[in-house]
């Protein structure tokens, strides 16, 4: 006796929980691998998953086993030239000459020094941005309630076929069928009883006309019962959706990058990688965050994403041009009362001599009072110049909201990024 069952439509990802448990348990190892990977791979490459290796000894499931040593017998197949009593040199390397494999215990993965597996892109980014957030994000008064979420709002009599509620529709149909049949059934039963009574009578007393009449009546009623539709448009019920405004925190991130001549190709590359990381982070965790890209040399320009990362133009350096532009854009498009404002700036620290004071004034007087957070990264292996020192003064005034870090080489990008956007409120696990 055999039953065939097609299980293919069944739920996939039965092991998802176990997989998560595993990732959770080896969080530390995986994080380390992810950090290395982020520094190693070119940043445009963040879109794929990552191969992770964990030392096998760290994740082994120990059981009692025989160790190497002692005397043992091994039976092996495929003897070609050996005779009884032959001596063979012990094969070097792999344990006791294949004896280790005999136990059947050597599964794939075990026996190697590294346990390797692949994180999906989602899992990878999850680890990359784990524990990071935009600092000081506030719920600003909501003027434009544009964000709307559709929520289930009970059932309705009409709707689109795709939202039909089968259970409820069938329940309605069932109730209707019961209700509609009941009187007919009652009448039918009466008619049948009458017919039976008529037929039980002596043939002499029987009224043939009545019998015919009753039979016709029964037939008519049975037809009526059959005619009751199994399901009627009247029964249909649809899931209804209602639009619910969602409170949202509007936020905008200004990405300010120095593209002046003093920035070498390497510096620019590091800056771009920093912003790409930021971009990925915001894209993944804050769907509604707007991004404004500003490039500057002696003059600043608002550009689109494409141009920000790929265009090449150079010149001298006036940092305040960028800050002015940011300020203008804020005034025009992102009033501080309604928006959470963030600025991330990357530069090699080189600036026009008199300009650094202006930058400080601009920041202290105009920008900082409006901003939630200002992150500055200086990409230089050299000594700091005036801009850094002026910014230090700003940082002293706004220790919570102004952060500055130095990046020397590509390896610093991710650690610095993590430091700048570390989750603050709650204690790190």
């Amino acid at each position: 006796m055999t039953y065939f069952i097609d299980r293919r439509p069944n739920a996939k990802h039965k092991s998802a929980v176990n997989r998560q448990r595993f990732l959770e348990r080896y969080r530390k190892h995986i994080k380390r691998s992810v950090e290395e990977a982020v520094n190693r791979r070119s940043i445009t490459d963040m879109e794929r998953g990552e191969k992770i290796s964990i030392p096998t000894k760290d994740i082994s499931e120990p059981v009692f086993q025989h160790g190497p040593g002692g005397a043992r017998n091994i039976v092996a197949p495929g003897n070609k030239e050996f005779l009884e009593g032959d001596k063979i040199r012990r094969p070097s390397g792999q344990g006791g000459g294949g004896g280790a494999e005999e136990g059947g215990a050597s599964n794939q993965g075990e026996g190697n020094d590294e346990f390797a597996f692949t994180l999906s892109r989602e899992e990878f980014l999850e680890f990359v941005f784990d524990g990071l957030e935009l600092p000081h994000l506030q719920r600003k008064p909501l003027k434009s309630l544009e964000e709307i979420k559709m929520v289930r709002a009970g059932l309705a009599r009409d709707g689109v076929p795709s939202r039909i509620s089968i259970t409820r529709s069938m329940r309605e149909a069932y109730a209707r069928r019961i209700a509609m049949r009941a009187p007919i059934k009652r009448a039918l039963k009466e008619a049948q009883e009458a017919l039976a009574a008529e037929e039980r009578k002596d043939p002499v007393l029987r009224n043939p006309a009545r019998v015919v009449e009753l039979k016709a009546e029964i037939e008519r009623l049975e037809k009526r019962i059959d005619a009751i539709p199994f399901i009627d448009t009247y029964d249909l019920r649809y899931h209804q959706l209602a639009a619910q405004p969602q409170p949202s925190s509007q936020a905008v991130m200004f990405c300010v990058m120095d593209v002046s001549g003093s920035m070498t190709q390497n510096h620019k590359d590091i800056a771009k990688r920093f912003f790409l990381l930021l971009y990925l982070f915001l894209e993944k965790h804050y769907e509604k965050v707007e991004l404004v890209f500003v490039r500057h040399h002696t003059a600043a320009r608002e550009v689109n994403e494409e141009e920000f990362f790929y265009s090449r133009e150079t010149g001298g350096t006036i940092v305040s041009s960028a800050l002015n532009l940011v300020n203008k854009i804020i005034e025009k498009r992102y009033p501080a009362g309604q928006w959470n404002l963030y600025v991330a700036q990357a530069s090699d620290g080189d600036n026009w001599d008199d300009d650094s004071n202006i930058c400080r004034d601009l920041l202290v007087k105009q920008l900082m009072p409006q901003l939630q957070y200002y992150a500055y990264v200086e990409i230089t292996p050299h000594d700091h110049q005036s801009l850094w020192h002026e910014y230090e003064a700003v940082a002293a005034q706004f220790p919570e909201r102004f952060a500055m870090r130095q990046i020397v080489d590509a390896g610093d990008i991710y650690p610095v990024f993590r430091e700048l956007f570390k989750r603050r409120m709650s204690q790190e696990r």
Partner: protein
């Protein structure tokens, strides 16, 4: 000779109605051969579902644990990079017998797999004495459901982490969770759940009895009213003297019943792991036989289908090719060598038994006087029912199979510089090779022999185990993590002593700081 060939289907595509018709034919042939099977439940699944099934050791329902996730990741990795193919089938010892077929299999493969799993393995599960003794096909699925629910409840109540740690410790000892000499009682989910509360309370009183500080009455004094009679105290826990009075090889059972500090739910989880280990116990001991038997029958049944004209030449050629791959045995010096292939060995032995029955040679009459010339079907059935790998090889490995596989015996002694070839496939070597191969499959040789010898119930509550060492083979390095797990379960220090010929060769302790003291 021409057969009137009316293949049920041709080509490599299949659908359910074709599979059903093939199954009917196979069932008819199996019936003709008197194969006794459970009803079959054949489930067609996708690749990913197959990897899921792998990860849960083939169990249709499993509790959650990170190690299954690890297993899944490693299978997925190997499969995606083409380092390994997935099994075409997975079969579960249950009633009805559940077999998983991959949707990607060709028609030939599906038919092969149905013959192999649904008639081969299935009849083995139903017939072999180890499975009959140790597993209960009726209730295993129910029990798994119960186990999963119970462990999920524990996670809710006591936290995922606590449960995970406990399971880690139990898994480390699960190969030591079987009583070899007692038939276990059948397990059923409904009953388990019903009895479980009862058991929790009862177990705790038992443990309390064991660990109470009031001195025991001296031997010979009538037991106190209300105290346990012998049925409740099978181990003689309360009669004084060394405890346990006999060494205990079932470590998990000992822990479950005696560990002083475990909470009732922890005991229940130990029990669940133990019960599942017991379920897998026969499979670990019958790999060669089980696969050999299944290969024998898929080979026989497929050939019958061909002889009757139910399959065409194309399908048959495809079958022969994959059959040859399955029973291929690379030599020891081949880069593909990874130990003896149980399919190859098992298939060779079963085929040879049939040959000995049908066409015995003088050598066979000398070696197998009782089966040479006997009806092959009965002899095969007898061999399948009453042996495990160890005894099966001891009994049925013929000189011809040894010659065919060119088996030879190497002695690897770490006190001698060279390996020695102790026997080859000749008259003087057959018996030695057979003996050595048989013990190679003996669980008692494959796994270190470790037993509980004493729990210091009146002293520091430490637990002492003996490792009975053989041929100077020491314990592997994993011994420390394992006794650490054991110590977690027991709650007090654990000592493990390696002994050979009554002499102590090595001591292990956990916690480790006792080492200096203990080694002296």
């Amino acid at each position: 000779m021409s057969v009137n060939r009316k293949p049920i289907a041709t080509g490599s595509d299949w659908n359910f109605s074709v599979l059903e018709r093939f199954d009917e034919e196979l069932a008819r042939l199996a019936d003709e051969y008197r194969l006794d099977t459970y009803p079959n439940q054949i489930e067609v699944i996708t690749t990913e579902q197959m990897m899921d099934a792998y990860a849960s050791v083939g169990m249709p329902v499993g509790y959650h644990h990170w190690s299954f996730g690890k297993q899944f990741l490693s299978v997925e990795q190997a499969y995606k990079r083409g380092q390994m193919g997935l099994a075409y089938e997975l079969v579960i010892n249950s009633n009805p017998c559940i077999a998983y077929l991959m949707e990607e299999n060709t028609l030939m493969m599906q038919v092969l797999v149905i013959a192999h799993a649904c008639y081969g393995h299935n009849s083995f599960f139903k017939g072999n004495y180890l499975f009959r003794t140790w597993t209960d096909a009726e209730s295993i699925v129910d029990y798994l459901v119960f186990a999963r629910k119970y462990i999920a409840q524990c996670e809710e109540r006591h936290g995922v982490h606590a449960v995970e740690q406990l399971l880690d410790a139990c898994h480390a000892l699960q190969n030591y969770g079987v009583d070899r000499y007692k038939r276990p009682s059948p397990i059923s989910a409904e009953e388990e759940a019903k009895r479980q509360d009862e058991r929790e309370a009862y177990l705790q009183t038992q443990v309390n009895m064991l660990w109470r500080t009031i001195p025991e009455p001296p031997a010979g004094v009538a037991p106190l009213p209300g105290s346990l009679h012998s049925d409740d105290d099978p181990l003689g826990l309360h009669t004084g003297g060394r405890y346990p009075s006999e060494p205990q090889e079932n470590l998990l059972y000992f822990i479950e019943k005696n560990a002083p500090l475990l909470a009732p739910w922890q005991r229940e989880i130990v029990r669940i792991v133990r019960k599942l280990a017991q379920y897998f116990y026969p499979q670990r001991q019958t790999q060669v036989m089980n696969e050999g038997w299944a290969c024998f029958w898929h080979y026989t049944l497929m050939n019958r289908l061909y002889d009757e004209g139910k399959v065409d030449e194309g399908l048959m050629l495809e079958f022969l090719q994959s059959h040859a791959a399955v029973i291929n045995q690379p030599g020891f010096d081949s880069p593909y060598y990874s130990g003896l292939n149980p399919y190859a060995l098992g298939f060779a032995i079963f085929m040879d038994i049939k040959r000995i029955c049908d066409a015995p040679t003088a050598e066979d009459r000398e070696w197998f006087p009782d089966i040479a010339g006997s009806p092959w079907r009965e002899t095969l059935e007898f061999a399948m029912r009453n042996f495990k790998d160890e005894s099966f090889i001891q009994q049925f490995l013929s000189p011809k199979v040894i010659r065919d596989l060119k088996l030879f015996l190497i002695v690897d002694d770490d006190q001698v510089e060279m390996l020695e070839v102790a026997a080859i496939h000749d008259d003087r070597g057959y018996k030695r090779i057979r003996e050595a191969l048989s013990s190679q499959y003996a669980l008692s040789v494959r796994e270190p022999n470790i037993q509980v010898v004493e729990a210091a119930i009146r002293g520091d509550r430490s637990l002492t185990l003996h490792h009975i060492q053989d041929s100077r083979r020491p314990l592997g390095r994993s011994v420390y993590p394992v006794i650490r797990h054991l110590q977690q379960l027991w709650g007090f220090p654990v000592h493990l002593v390696s002994m050979e010929d009554g002499k102590v060769t090595r001591r292990y302790h956990w916690p480790v700081e006792e080492e200096s003291k203990g080694a002296g």
